[in-house]
Amino acid sequence: MILTLHLVALALYTLATALTLAPFVGLRAPPRVLTIALPCAGAALHVVAVSQLTLVGLAPALSMLALCLVLLQLASERLVRGSAVGFFTGPVAAGLVGLALLIGLAPGAEPSAGRNAWFILHVALSVMGLALLALAFIAAALYLLQFRELKARRFGRVFQLFPPLERLDQLNRVALVAGFPALTLGVLLALGYAVRFAGGLHVGKAQIVWGLFTWAVVGWAVWVRLVRRWDGRRAAFASIAGFSAVLLVYLALKLVQPGAERFL
């Protein structure tokens, strides 16, 4: 059931991505309702599938990250009134679901109610925080591409299909500002979970290092935006640098401790 739901979600995400990218290869743009309905349907099935996972291990984390990205893509559609975010989130989400399927997804044992609620909230908020950082990165990348085209006075597909600069800047700010409390709560819940269920906590050093590093990076990105009043291109570069650092540190730590049993 989990596999089937993931496969159908993957197919819907892939189809939605293909439709979203169609105008870039000179094909007619699909009706907007279709580019929203397909990922919506995929996300609905995906939610059902994720609800049956224990959220322990790399594959469930990747699946949940993909789900969060699709949900954020749909939210961005409403916020920036453009499907350009889907150019990035679509392929990434489809890729993450595919990777999760390759690693192997299986239903987990049911934890106790208390542990379950703490743990699910910790994972959901942390993954959502990470997805928001990824969304900030995507908005920043779109911003820099559109900025370059507008500066160079090129009026091709990027100019036509990407959202306006200020909306992308706004999306970047909103993603970071929402991502920081989500990650903070995720970290606090992890600490609470460790205290309350000390006997059952087995957190590796790598997980702590990466979690705190990610939290610090997002905190820094929010600080430069809100306190130092960075915006536009400088803020976009900061977001890209932050997300890249988080990704590189994760990959480095994962290389040191390979294996799919744990997220890190």
Binding site: V80, Q146, L150, K151, R153, F155, F159, Q160, P163, P164, L165, E166, R167, Q170, D231, G232, R233, R234
Partner: protein
């Protein structure tokens, strides 16, 4: 035959296909420069001329000898280029029927950067009116029909459907920077029709036109009142580049007025907030160096027309029908123009023949004194009938050839054969 028909119609010029904006802006002629330019070309041998100068083209429509005045036109335009640059590499010539077709295509928007744009109709009319004293009868008729062709194509085809103009493109470009334009502040430099049109388009999107600056304060105040803005002189406008979101420039200045020296320091004080500068003027109002400033987005008329042209997809479907109308109207004009030369020649030819007939009849009747008055009348009638029979076929052939636009060869032969 009059001079105009003995010469021929020519168009010489440059347009957006043959020359970039930085060259075209040098050839742009203000209304006050038109009579002087045409006087020079007419002094070089043209029988009449109209100068059409828009942001997309500078074209001399002339009635002139084949090669006679072309040099004068190239010299006149060449004086506006830097030393070493050759105007001919940007220029083109079309003659006779091709020149007529060219003007019809121009006036209908088929030759415009934004396919089917309607502003060119007004510009053709203004050019005709500005050159009225120097145009001559053939060009009067040509421009009159060109306006008719433009109107007919807009009525009978879909060439003018949809919104596609530099002003609408200005809104689209600003929208790609700011997203929602409501509440954005705009500063207008210049008080011409183009500035007002674009400002009105921006205001319709919720942009607050707060300032209108112009060389003459009176004109600025007139537009400012209509837009609910404050009027300034140009020198008072520079500090406002620190606060405005959109600067719309469309002055009639012959050189850049928004320069690095005037606004560079002011714009650097914006702390990275984007500034969209829309330069609708030809010659350009804004020094291209200003675009190097961080977060300044500068667009000139060619950029805006490129954006506007993207909105004309539906208009392309109407091109074939519009071209058919152009062809039909070109044939009609050419028939009229050909007939214009043939009628006086036929008249002269028939007059000469009539004189010969009368002289020969009189000579013959002097020797035929025995004829009764009735017989004399019959002989005279015979001479008339013979002459009409002899002249009928050449007259019909000449008129037919003229209507088909190939009467010149026959006319020339007739003049040589009969010493007309």
């Amino acid at each position: 035959m009059n001079d105009a028909t003995a010469m021929g119609i020519q168009v010489l010029g440059v347009n957006h296909r043959t020359a970039p904006l930085e060259v075209r802006e040098r050839f742009a002629h203000g209304a006050h420069e038109v009579p002087g330019a045409l006087a020079r070309v007419i002094a070089a041998g043209a029988a009449g001329g109209v100068l059409l100068s828009t942001c997309n083209r500078t074209e001399f429509y002339l009635v002139a000898e084949e090669e006679g005045v072309a040099e004068a036109v190239w010299d006149l335009l060449g004086e506006r280029l830097e030393r070493g640059a050759a105007v001919r590499e940007y220029g083109y010539i079309a003659r006779d029927r091709d020149a007529v077709r060219h003007l019809y295509r121009v006036s209908s928007g088929l030759d415009s950067m934004i396919l089917g744009e309607s502003q060119i109709q007004g510009q053709v009319r203004e050019a005709w009116e500005a050159s009225r004293a120097q145009a001559g009868p053939v060009l009067h008729r040509l421009f009159q029909t060109a306006l008719h062709v433009g109107a007919r194509i807009r009525t009978e085809t879909a060439l003018g459907t949809g919104t596609a103009s530099a002003a609408s493109a200005a809104v689209a470009v600003a929208g790609k920077i700011f997203g929602d334009l409501a509440g954005r502040a705009a500063l207008i430099l210049g008080a011409g029709d183009m500035a007002e049109l674009a400002a009105t388009c921006l205001a319709a999107e919720g942009v607050q036109v707060t300032l209108v600056a112009n060389r003459t304060h009176e004109r600025a105040r007139a537009i400012a009142e209509r837009l609910g803005a404050r009027a300034l002189t140009l020198d008072e406008a520079w500090p406002h580049f620190a606060t405005t979101d959109i600067a719309l420039c469309s002055t009639a200045a012959p050189h850049a007025v928004v320069t690095w020296e005037r606004v560079g320091a002011v714009i650097r004080g914006r702390r990275g907030r984007p500034l969209c500068i829309l330069d609708l003027a030809v010659p350009r109002d804004v020094d291209p160096a200003v675009a190097q400033l961080e977060n300044v987005f500068l667009y000139d008329i060619d950029d805006l027309q490129t954006v506007a042209a993207q909105a004309t997809a539906r208009r392309h479907e109407a091109v074939a029908a519009a071209e058919r109308i152009v062809q039909e109207e070109t044939d009609l004009f050419w028939a009229w123009y050909g007939g214009l030369g043939v009628v006086p020649v036929i008249k002269e030819f028939r007059g000469r023949m009539e004189a010969l007939r009368a002289a020969e009849l009189e000579r013959a009747l002097r020797h035929l004194t025995q004829l009764s008055p009735e017989d004399r009348a019959r002989v005279e009638q015979l001479s008339h009938a013979l002459m009409n029979k002899f002249l009928h076929q050449p007259t019909v052939a000449l008129k037919a050839a003229a209507e088909e636009g190939r009467g010149y060869g026959l006319l020339d032969a007739l003049k040589r054969l009969f010493g007309l």
